[in-house]
Amino acid sequence: MKIHEYQARKLFRQYAIPVTDDILCQTVTEVEKAARDFNRMVVIKAQVLVGGRGKAGGVKLAKNVEEAVDAAKKIFGMDIKGCTVEKILVADAVEIQKEYYVGLTIDRNTKSVLFMASSEGGVEIEEVAKENPEAIYKIPIDPDLGMTDFLARKIAFKLFTDMNLVKQAVDIFKKLYKQFIETDASLLEINPLVITDGGKLIAIDGKINFDDNALYRQPAIEALNEPTEDERKELKAKESGLTYIRLDGNIGCMVNGAGLAMASMDVIKHYGGNPANFLDIGGSSNPQKVIDAMNLLLSDKNVKVIMINIFGGITRCDDVARGLVSALDVMKVDIPIVIRLSGTNAEEGLRIINDYNLPTVNSLSEAAQEAIRLASQVN
């Protein structure tokens, strides 16, 4: 789960990490008032959940109220990579001596939380990682030790020589790690962390993602979620134990397991078809899930045919078959369905499906080709 910059700033403040002052605005009038209240140079920042908003023109410096209003008029309603700007953050524009990058993430290879820091802040860190990887210091943190003073100091001395700055940095690094662990974050970045003219370290932008698997124990974090319309559908699916991602094709897919679901989409594409979605009905099976999945697929009007590909393991094919048959009993389905079942309890599943007079196919390739053929007939 991702959150907006303004929300990340609030969380930083909760952990007493220094952040520039800001005011969140939803209208041009609010921006005007905020700029007047600051009565100095401010930054007008679009609040969207995608990167690259600076390049897209979503961040502007304003020397006075007029410039702030001007910028706000341009930025509200702006489309940045498919996200419409509905909120603007007006933030204090501090004098900057130098910019740094500080971040924490999960490292798959060391299986630990990785602390990253670089004196090349303010730019896309992915670019630095690609072009000048030595410029990023990386330290995996032992979960039993946490961010000890010496570790924090070790990193701070890589970035600063002035002891006053080192002390401030150590304090910030320890708080960031605490925040990462306590909130079940999966990515936590300050970019940039800057030295002001007054010799103070302060965050002027932040990005935080959270581990979806841990949201159940983070109600305060979950409450920060502002899903887009597509994401709302995906969340609703998740509540029913389904993972759904809408795509732009016309073949509705219902598959068990993420890998098989991806491979099913790949096979459809390979034969020239276009999947309408990724839909993983997950492990442990329960007939209600199949009913929910059918409802979800049918709610997408682009779907012209449904392809069901189940390989039973923990999911039992007879459960899926029963769910499908009871779904078809209660709902009107006027598009064709292509079904493939194999694995645990497949024989029983196929018997239920065939008793209901639904056709089944034997292989994934066959299913994909049949689905593509049926979809083209509808068009």
Binding site: I106, R108, N109, K111, S112, V113, E126, D142, P143, D144, I181, D184, S186, D211, D212, N213, A214, Y216, R217, T243, I245, L247, V255, N256, G257, A258, G259, L260, A261, M262, A263, M265, D266, V267, I268, K269, H270, P275, F278, D280, G282, G283, S284, F311, G312, G313, I314, T315, S342, G343, T344, S363, L364, S365
Partner: protein, 323 residues
């Protein structure tokens, strides 16, 4: 039990201070082949009284896996399928000599269950539970490493050595004993690949589902080495997916350490960037972790990559010169 053959060879050579001769080789070949699980596996099931735990316990038992104990706190003294249930893993290990544990507990409890198994002294832990918080896995993998205990998963289908031991939720009937080793980040995609292998007369030595989460136990590198050292394995199938750089690392490792033929498949060739495709690991972002990059990494080290699942058995046959 379960030890990989290079450990075994090391041990024998250390004892005798002699190079391996033909007699020793014969001795090694008489011991159990395959990797991680076999006839000597003494399995305990954590969460044996739950819906999935009890269902798959009976499936594993039916397959012939030697299940010696179950654990369910508060239900010690009961039996499931004739298997004694204990309150703690420690009690179960002491009473039954279990050496491997499989975990079916709900995700919020899984990290703790893994550590309990590690603490009790089993050699291998397999965690099936899906949706375990990443930081719980960071803690659990660190602990198991300190204890010297191997972990597979979480969020994985487990593993099987056909005709010897099924430790997981894999449908046993699709497997056939043979010499192809298989490792995969996805459960159900593994089943599809295995059925294709079996239909084409290609049996398997051991098949391991390593799970789709960002922080997991044994991964490609460790398993590649085990299959490389296993005399029963003649070719290796690696099934990867988008996200992370584990496949790229595997490609590098194969180049440096693996002499047996390896063939690969990458799921998610058609996935849009930035979307989590069910597996927390399966996110393509910032231009890394795409299927194209992974395919290129494998092909650069001479590992052929199937574009369709159906091509996997063909590539294996080609690698083993089978018509």
């Amino acid at each position: 039990m379960v030890r990989n053959n290079s450990d075994y060879i090391d041990q024998i050579t250390q004892l005798t201070y002699e190079p391996i001769n033909d007699n020793l080789k014969k001795l090694i070949n008489q011991t159990n082949m395959s990797i991680l699980v076999n006839k000597n596996t003494r399995l305990l099931v954590q969460g044996i009284t739950g819906r999935d735990g009890s269902f798959h316990t009976s499936k594993m038992k039916e397959y012939g896996t030697n299940i010696v104990a179950g654990v369910s706190p508060g239900k010690g003294g009961q039996t499931v399928d004739g298997i004694p249930v204990f309150n703690s893993v420690e009690d179960a290990v002491k009473a039954t000599g279990a050496n491997t544990s499989i975990i079916f507990v709900p995700a919020p409890l899984a990290g703790d269950a893994i550590m309990e198994a590690g603490d009790a002294g089993v050699e291998l832990v397999i965690c099936i539970s899906e949706g375990v918080p990443t930081l719980d896995m960071v803690k659990a993998t660190t602990y198991l490493k300190k204890k010297g205990v191997k972990l597979i998963g979480a969020n994985c289908p487990g593993l099987i050595t056909p005709d010897e031991a099924l430790v997981g939720i894999l449908p046993g009937n699709i497997f056939k004993k043979g010499n192809v080793g298989l490792m995969s980040r996805s459960g159900t995609l593994t089943y599809l690949m295995v059925s294709l292998l079996t239909q084409n007369g290609l049996g398997q030595s051991t098949c391991v589902g390593i799970g789709g989460d960002p922080v997991a136990g044994l991964y490609y590198l460790e398993l590649l080495q085990m299959f490389q050292d296993d005399p029963e394995t003649e070719a290796i199938v690696l099934i990867g997916e988008i996200g992370g750089d584990a496949e790229e690392r595997a490609a590098q490792y194969i180049k440096e350490h693996v002499t047996k033929p390896v063939v690969a498949f990458i799921a998610g060739q058609s996935a849009p960037p930035g979307k989590r495709m069910g597996h927390a690991g399966a996110i393509i972002s910032s231009g890394s972790g795409t299927a194209e990059e992974k395919i290129a990494a494998f092909e650069a080290v001479g590992v052929p990559v199937a574009r369709l699942p159906i091509e996997i058995p063909l590539l294996i046959k080609k690698a083993l010169n089978i018509n």
